[in-house]
């Protein structure tokens, strides 16, 4: 994928470029707001990683400008501001996701991947399926290999989230935000517990496992090899 990183801290930008390149992406770096705006508005990127606090032209101004110009590239905002208002403000300005510094690189990578292949908003499938696992979003039913799987409401949401991101790593934080709407980090292993229950129902006794733990990063639901 082709990514643009707009980050004024040269060390931070260099680290992101190196790490994202190692993950197989082509990365352009802009170290000023102006340069970032020119690149983001002029070149086709799959995802823009945009630091919110930049000298001269700040991240939100860039975001508003390119959105006003009709650029629909998904934007991941990076920020040192962790307040709730800051997050809401960032998303309202046209950001697609929001990550507070400092972050683990695995978290950033997972979120970039999640943004890149997001289906267009008008495309709302009524059924999701991976291998022999099928989720009917209208009837809210799940079958594995034709057999009905009974899930509780929250487990269904968890599975739906994994299915929508099938083939991509989702992190614990992404699940907390996407499934529970928790924008803080509980100290209890609630994600692990719910995930293990879900796996017990979806994977146990069905041959090939679909949900996998990615060490140090999160979870992934994918077709068996």
């Amino acid at each position: 994928m082709k990514l643009l990183v707009v980050e004024d801290d040269r060390d931070g930008a260099a680290y992101l470029k190196k790490a994202l390149s190692e993950a197989g992406h082509v990365v352009d770096v802009a170290t000023s707001g102006r340069q970032g705006l020119l690149l983001a508005a002029g070149e086709p990127y799959d995802v823009v990683v945009l630091d919110r606090m930049l000298p001269e032209l700040d991240g939100l101004a860039i975001l508003r400008t390119i959105r006003a110009a009709g650029v629909k590239t998904p934007v991941l905002l990076l920020t040192a501001l962790g307040g709730i208002d800051d997050r809401v403000e960032g998303l309202n300005a046209g950001g697609d996701d929001y990550l507070v510094k400092p972050f683990a690189f695995a978290e950033l990578l997972a979120r970039v991947n999640a943004l890149a292949r997001r289906p267009p908003p008008q495309d709302t499938p009524t059924e999701l399926s991976v291998a022999d696992l099928k989720v009917d979003l209208l009837k809210r039913t799940v079958t594995r290999g034709g057999q009905r799987v009974e899930l509780q409401a929250r487990e269904f949401q968890l599975l739906e989230y994994l299915m929508r991101h099938a083939g991509r790593v989702v992190t614990r934080t992404m699940l907390l935000e996407g499934v529970w709407d928790f924008h803080f980090d509980p100290k209890t292993n609630i994600v692990e517990t719910h995930m293990s229950r879900l796996r017990g129902k979806v994977d146990r006794g069905h041959g090939a496992e679909l949900i996998h733990t990615v060490r140090g990063a999160g979870y992934i639901l994918r077709e068996p090899d």
Partner: protein, 440 residues
């Protein structure tokens, strides 16, 4: 002195008032003058008409008699009767050769010249009746009027100037007290407040508002100071540990991976503490009321219990919800969720294995309440109050993970919502009770 607002205002008002008095004086002067002149003239014409009547009833002799008599009455008008051919017949005005109607006659006399305003009316047979009044009678009155207005004018100017100085001294003193307080605070005497008289006038109310503002700023500064000293005290220990780990990793390459991994864990814990401190400071700063909207405590409780119950079951604890009726409050659902999560996690962590934890929402006359109760060991009565201080931890909990900030955040969120936090003995166990103010 002329840079004093109140003095300038007083001067302006005095000037405006003085101009008003002058205008009023001029108008009164002329209208009084006209009215008096009319009255004098009417008197003259009435006398003239009375004498003409006399002539008709008593004849010439009667008039002559009347003119003579009236002419010599002290304080009365002047009279005269002129015969045909301009001959003076009777009265001091008899010799005046005036035309018919109004005219002014100048008569040299002692002790001064006299100007008379004379009305001449003709009688039958060529006689002319003359009635006159002193012309300077009006001027005498003019003088009295002008003197009166002059005194009034002077009085107003004096009162205005004196009052202006007095007013500006009073207001000036009170403004000086306000600016003195501000100067003292700039110089670092932060406890100073503007003196209040208790008179409840506008300046007093301003002083009270300024004092409230200063209290608020002092509160914010206190909270900021608290955060910085907390950071200084309680982040040093983990930072030292982190440093030691990195050093040992450098010294012994065989342990490098293990040291780095441990260092990353330490660092995450430090960042967590840091984020929690900033969040508490942000909430205490009160900037978050913008996110307030009507929400239901039961919904919040349901989400949290639903999220944590499986984790509790895994370690043999139970987490249950009792929420019979909607408990509506005006608040920030995200912060309320975090408040409840902290209370629940607190109970999960400290109530011990196989503890029963109950989350309950209540509605009542006192307002909605959110209650988290466990049947664990609880906390000693004398320490319960301090549990909400930052970094305060019970002696027996020091070995368990946690930053000691959970309840401090609960207290901050509750305060933002105007809610009261009570930590009670649940006999056995601990009951945390968040009492929200009644709706409305």
């Amino acid at each position: 002195m002329f840079r004093s607002t109140s003095l300038r205002l007083a001067a302006l008002y005095t000037a405006a008032f003085a101009v008003a008095v002058v205008v009023l004086g001029v108008i009164t002067f002329f209208s009084t003058r006209e009215t008096l002149q009319e009255q004098f003239d009417r008197r003259v014409r009435a006398e003239s008409a009375a004498l003409a009547q006399e002539y008709r009833t008593e004849g010439l002799n009667g008039v002559v008699e009347a003119v003579r008599e009236r002419d010599h009455t002290p304080g009365a008008l002047r009279y005269g009767l002129r015969g045909p051919g301009g001959v003076a017949v009777a009265g001091r005005l008899g010799a005046a050769q005036t035309p018919l109607g109004w005219s002014v006659v100048l008569k040299p006399g002692e002790p001064r010249d006299e100007a008379m305003r004379v009305y001449a009316a003709d009688l039958p047979d060529g006689y002319v009746l003359l009635v006159g009044d002193e012309a300077d009678r009006i001027e005498l009155l003019d003088g009295a009027l002008l003197r009166g207005f002059g005194w009034a004018f002077a009085g107003i100017v004096v009162l205005g100037v004196v009052g202006g100085f007095a007013l500006s001294r009073d207001v000036g003193r009170r403004l000086a007290a306000i600016s003195g307080t501000a100067e003292a605070i700039i110089d670092g005497v932060l406890a100073r407040r503007v003196p209040v008289r208790g008179s409840d006038d506008d300046l007093d109310r301003l002083a009270l508002t300024i004092n409230r503002m200063l209290d608020r700023i002092a509160g914010l500064m206190e909270s900021l100071k608290q955060v910085s000293s907390d950071i200084a005290h309680d982040l040093r220990t983990p930072l030292t540990r982190l440093r030691n780990r990195l050093e040992s990793g450098l010294a012994d390459p065989g342990e490098r991976d293990q040291a780095l991994e441990g260092a990353l864990g330490d660092l995450d814990a430090i960042l967590d503490t840091f984020a929690a401190l900033l969040r508490i400071a942000q909430i205490e700063g009160g900037a978050r009321r913008a996110g307030f909207r009507p929400c239901d405590l039961s919904d919040v409780a349901r989400t949290v219990v639903d999220a944590f119950a499986p984790s509790a079951e895994e370690v043999g604890q139970s987490l249950t919800l009792v929420a019979d009726a909607p408990a509506r409050v005006e608040g920030d659902p995200e912060l309320l969720t975090q408040l409840l999560v902290n209370l629940v996690e607190n109970a999960l962590r400290h109530a011990g294995p196989s503890a029963r934890i109950e989350v309950r929402t209540e509605t009542g006359e006192g307002g909605p309440r959110l209650v988290v109760r466990d049947d664990g060991p609880g906390a000693p009565a004398d320490e319960r109050g301090r549990l909400m201080d930052r970094f305060y931890r019970l002696e027996r909990s020091r070995s368990t993970p946690g930053s000691g900030l959970g309840l401090a955040l609960v207290a901050a969120v509750a305060k933002l919502h105007g809610a009261e936090v009570q930590l009670l003995d649940a006999g056995p166990g601990l009951e945390a009770r968040i009492a929200f103010p009644p709706a409305g």
